[in-house]
Symmetry: C2
């Protein structure tokens, strides 16, 4: 099928569909309806159908969509089939946790190495080296790295970000709770825990208030 443009809102829902589809047992019916998916995920069925229409080549009335086909289509659309190499800067606790997290492979992400200003000599995390930042540029050039993960303290995030861009990196996953200034062709995706916490604590405050 030809590749359609999808909005960010749609894009963000696709991983949920994929995760859900993968939980269905092998021996279940090979077909799944948008209705069933919507119910399982607590969403509207029209929304599911519209989203699926953008990435798959359609289902069959009364039958639904071929489950395996959907998994394949969504995976491919999201680029999980071809792996992306990334580097990580900031080998603190969070950085090391991400470096050692094996779950990213399933999403086609491969963290090659971590960089730090003060790496413990020869230290590796799950076989992945922690290298002095000075060697970042040459490493990125030789390995043609396009994605960078920032897990340094806020104060240094912009500096690291600029450096990554100088290394040819085009997409940045930012775990530091600060806004990063970048040129238009670079994408910054903020993994902002503060944002999540805001939503959570707002809910708790409302709950507490209600109780009174």
């Amino acid at each position: 099928m030809e590749r359609k443009e999808v909005s960010k809102s749609v894009l963000k829902r696709l991983p949920s569909y994929l995760a859900y589809l993968k939980t269905i047992p092998e021996d279940a019916s090979p077909y799944i309806s948008a209705t069933a998916m919507a119910n399982a995920l607590g969403m509207g069925e029209v929304q599911v159908r519209k989203d699926l229409a953008l990435v798959s080549d359609g289902g069959r009335p009364k039958i639904g969509y071929l489950r395996e086909g959907l998994i394949e289509d969504i995976s491919q659309f999201l680029g999980y089939d071809n792996t992306t190499d990334a580097i990580l800067v900031g080998a603190g606790k969070l950085g090391q946790a991400l470096l050692g997290y094996s779950g990213f492979e399933a999403y086609g992400l491969n963290i090659l190495a971590a960089f730090d200003t003060n790496p413990k000599a020869d230290k590796t995390v799950d076989g992945k080296p922690i290298i002095p930042v000075e060697r970042m540029e040459s490493f990125c050039r030789t390995n043609k790295v396009l994605m960078g993960i920032i897990t340094v303290p806020s104060e240094h995030a912009q500096e690291v970000c600029d450096r990554m861009i100088a290394c040819g990196i085009k997409a940045i996953w930012n775990f530091a709770p600060v806004h990063l200034d970048v040129p238009g062709n670079i994408l910054v995706q903020n993994e902002n825990m503060a944002t999540s916490l805001a939503v959570l604590s707002m809910h708790l405050q409302a709950q507490i208030k209600e109780k009174k």
Copy 2:
């Protein structure tokens, strides 16, 4: 000022304003304009003004907003002033990283303890204990815990979630990449790395395509 209802989209922007305001040096002007904030964060100035109108009691034409006042108002609105106690279930790599991360204090989050099915005896992370899950309920009841953080593998997330709800928890921060089924009065905030990765890899694919 009286407390207004804010939409989720507004709520998610508030932490950025706060973070930015805190980066301004003490000795700078005590006033800041929405225009300046908008420029610094790459947003529309009307949007900033509208958002601020919801949480502060206003700025002065030609002058702007009192910086200290804004910080105070947003912090209070987001509940960063009164701390929330939370527990974490799943003391794997990510769980331990979060447990040891001191940055959450600034957001009023206090992780009291972690729970795991198979905790190393007497192990603590930064002074915080890792306790067998069996003791979760009594712990939550005695400490009146309202927030739970899930960092277990996907297969066990729903089970842990149900257990948390049984313990009286009202807000769940879910790091497992699965949809959790919960009653209407419980809030689940998904910290879905898969979602972020989807946005990032989509951007890279577009970049690569463009180059060809």
